[in-house]
Symmetry: D2
Subunit: 353 residues, 4 copies
């Protein structure tokens, strides 16, 4: 049942990595929004495979096709149906992997949960699904055009961009293939990924996201706090293992006298360890959070694993896979953040008389 | 709108810290569950104020009163209504704080969002609400009696319990007031909190939670992944700034060849960096996660802040507050984990023919 | 699970007829609504037992007690918790009915569904639950103060008020105990009910509801059409067997050339067989619908039935029951209509830019 | 937002009558169901235009194409995405109707609600959408293969099939184009529709639906009663004005002593005025209900109406429209009934321990 996201701005999706198509329905986008379709495709291109030397070399155009809900360039208030065809399906022989469970993939859990599994690639558990999220997120961004949502790669392995976001120029995020807005760190990260790739190995990393110009009042406590929904959204992304916002895990080491954000007389705060959210509601300061990605599980190495019957088998990873998921995940983080904000933006319209 | 939690095992709550009562409705608890009411009250007692020298000295019995849904000791399948009366209400003079926004509290955001705020204490944003969650969590625990859910304090400030959970004896969690299952670390943590309290200051910390004997197959990808719902639940708790499961933020520094969990022939895994969840679905291994709490915002110190009209005012923190929220949050973490698992346990019943 | 109603203006309820209390939580009522508590109690009094000679003589004050969400007379945007205590509980001996299934009651189905049943009275299936709905509906009415919602008794048995609603004076609805706004029909209906009561029998009837001053645009096709949600709401009321709006079942006999509502140049229509709703969305004309109630199942007669083990048993209906449910159901119809409209009123705020 | 139906067996849809395609996502269908795709297409063929002389002569194949969630012939537990392409789109000139509001259509309300409307045909308000429902309903039927769901035309205009359903042979429903299981009445109905068609007029009618072999216990009181959800579903169908189940509106004229259904010792009842549902829960007896359809609003006649600016305009109805919606609505009624039952069938799995 868990294939819908959001309450008023709501995305429902379908699709397996090697089926005919993936796609979705966006329900609740307000009528009258002039859509920039090229901007949507541009976001998809930021996520698509084959875009640079440090990501998977698989080629898929990932072209979105809209089927409803848009008329003469604008949203009509009716559901927006869309498709992204899977052009890279191969009628290849899957018999080798059919009954095999790859380590740290979802093969085992899907098979046990459902008693059946689409064994051609990752099926539903593939990150290919996130292309759907990009589409909805790109529309959400256009709905929230006043807000600025910028994500960037803040670490790869043990290379950490050690600068607060205030010192970064977000315009540089797209200037390099790893999507790190600091050229010198970007170079180190790219070198790291290339080295790891050569080993047939993979590496984890983190993404930081900053949201600016957020109106005061978004978030619905006590169970739909703004940061709780952002966290849930980020933890939905394949390979994510952690989420922190504002002071995050560092905040757990601090004293209250250092951590509290004193007010200025205009209602802004002198510091922002709260991360732009207090009591689950945006306070108008920048929202920022960090997301941890584990290394991709598919290695281009020989490995042992088991099959359906509990037999040990030796497999050889091959194909075209990402050595590091982080560069392509940057637009996904932004897309989900935009969807969460769009939902709260609409929910907040009925909060008071 | 955000005052309901869960899909099939669903809690809806109400109540302000200084109103007549808080309470809730649990809808969807299966019929025929023999309830141990004393065990529910016992969980509430683990959370209640005044239980030890290192928590707030406020005295409230926090007695739960059930109003429906239970007949002759068992659940009937109809909604379970319950109340916890606020016995500690004082008809005191709130005029001093009425128009004042305490730093890093929700006073400012509630007022801006709703245009009105119950200024007697924290109102709806008070952690008093979590007593409601304990009630529902305690019932969820009884529904899931085969699973073992244990949370404990794993750090206070910079004192970290540096032992993997496998080396700990969970029976010792309740043996000390800080709820750390290692006596020597517990002593250090308690001393730390006492020292901080003497300063009129507060301190953050982390809680680790381990869930054992989880059946394979819980979790509903792609938007209701088990860890995403656990993360959302934990981020709903007052003062939480971060969540990580399995390898967490450490995993983001690792290589795939180290991070992958190789299978044993029985379907268990040799390591468990996945944290018991793969593709958003439980794989039968232990689930474990860590939650970061910021220091409590209320300090027993003098501080500057602003009022409703943007005037600078000087306030003096007083009253009976927690110097560290972590010891009392341990049962809250367990309660929310139990509710999430109960919901997926019920949802999973319709997954396959 | 089915104990919540509405999406944005949402009521969740609990309670059995002979438990300690019934009650509910209203989530999503906008902040800043000045509540007239007396008006809420007045609506409850319209529904309560013992108010006239033609309804049950059971005496219950049905006093609502608010526990949260209201501060200094106004809603705060946080959930409104409320209770109605059951004062008429008797520690009587239920052993006779404990294992018996009354015909056309829910005793049999509740027992079979849940495996257990609160056999003291109707338990959860009792119409006592509708007192909760009155509370939420009375608040919804205050939110929608510009709309006029009037329900009235339009038939009792075969006595039909044969006048279109436009010829009636809604101010007369409360002028007689059967709630029929035509004095001469009211007399006949009251006489009918008294006659039926004398026989120890019961009788069915219908209620018509008219909603005026509805803004254009309420309703969310294709699955939350305004009339579909009204219909679902009405069919939730105990004893309801049918719902029709606008031309209703009569419309099914008509030709399109007679049925179509021609426009005036101001967008109103010359006729209103559509019943104020086109395509599931209000068009600004009066909404009107009719609800059919079966006769109450509890007779003050001797009857045969079965027990839990399939044995035939003879029972004697006794106690204080309604000979006709319709007079007391009038405020319930209005309350549910108000809740449906309040929900759509809030949902509609995010429909367009 | 209102484009999803169901809680566990959930359909979300999109599509306008003259867009590229309509389609949907079925989320929550249990894994392991062997699907008979031909049977699904067969249901679509029962609804499709052009199938007989008494329905619209528009030709559309209405071929369903599945995109996901089915693997090697069986459902996988992941969402089932599907498309039905609109092959009958014409690049015709819509300028004449662009700003015109047809009487008793949704042109006016959609324009007022959303500020914009896809004016090519009915857009989202077109009954073309119901083809999506047929797909989901056909899958629900396969899930509920033990239950028998039969709908049939029970009246056209003033021609009423005056036989209780027990005297009918449901195998005859498909033996004639009006879908009435009594040949002599069918002839009269067909003649009536042909006569009406010749006049350029349209006519209303009713459909009766009977559901047999329903397990005891389906339905979730108090707000998701089985008949309330059935009613809501039926009222979602274009042109429906009324719904009644069991004794329905007739029951409102009856006395309790006649209306009550006495038990047999095996838990069945001697009569079934309850219509197979008591307290909102199925009791194992046949469920039956009746649905009223108004006459189609599109007439092949000249008529007066208004445009966007409030000018009176004269229009001429033309094209290929249904003179009576009822014959093609028979499979739609069945489809929605099947979806409601499938949802409750899954929900009921978690009702008791």
């Amino acid at each position: 049942m868990g294939n819908s996201f959001g309450k008023l701005f709501k995305l429902s999706t379908f699709g397996e990595s090697h089926g005919k198509a993936i796609g979705g329905i966006i329900d609740g986008c307000p009528a009258g929004l002039q859509l920039d379709i090229k901007a949507i495709q541009k976001e998809l291109n930021r996520r698509k495979p084959g875009q640079s030397a440090i990501v998977t070399q698989r080629k898929e155009p990932d072209t979105v096709e809209f089927l409803s809900g848009i008329f003469e360039g604008a949203t009509t208030g009716t559901p927006i149906g869309f498709l992204i065809k899977n052009t890279n399906q191969k009628s290849k022989d899957y018999s080798a992997i059919k009954d095999t469970f790859r380590p740290s993939h979802a093969d085992f859990t899907y098979t046990k949960k459902y008693g059946i599994r689409d064994y051609r690639g990752g099926g539903r558990s593939s990150a290919r699904e996130t292309a759907n999220w990009i589409v909805a997120g790109a529309i959400a961004k256009q709905l929230l055009s006043e807000m600025k949502i910028n994500a960037y790669t803040s670490s790869v392995g043990d290379i950490f961009l050690e600068k607060p976001y205030q010192e970064l120029n977000f315009n540089l995020i797209e200037s390099n293939v790893v999507r790190c807005p600091d050229e010198s760190y970007a170079k180190k990260m790219i070198a790291k990924i290339k080295e790891i790739k050569k080993q047939g190995d993979t590496i984890g990393g983190t993404i930081t996201c900053v949201i600016q110009n957020v109106p005061i009042g978004l978030g619905e406590p006590v169970f739909d706090k703004l940061h709780a929904r952002l966290g849930m959204a980020m933890l939905s992304i394949n390979a994510v293992k952690g989420f922190e916002y504002g002071s995050g895990f560092c905040g757990a080491k601090m004293k209250g006298s250092t951590h509290n954000d004193a007010f200025n007389t205009d209602g802004t705060t002198k510091t922002n360890l709260s991360g732009g959210i207090q009591g689950g509601i945006s306070n108008g300061m920048d929202i920022y959070f960090r997301v941890a990605f584990k290394p991709v599980a598919t290695l281009l190495q020989k490995y042992n694993t088991i099959d359906n019957h509990g037999n040990l088998v030796t497999m050889q990873g091959k194909g075209r896979h990402d050595p590091c998921v982080v560069p392509r995940a940057v637009p996904i983080v932004e897309a989900l953040a935009a969807m969460v904000l769009a939902d709260f933006y609409l929910l907040q319209k009925s909060n008071k008389l």
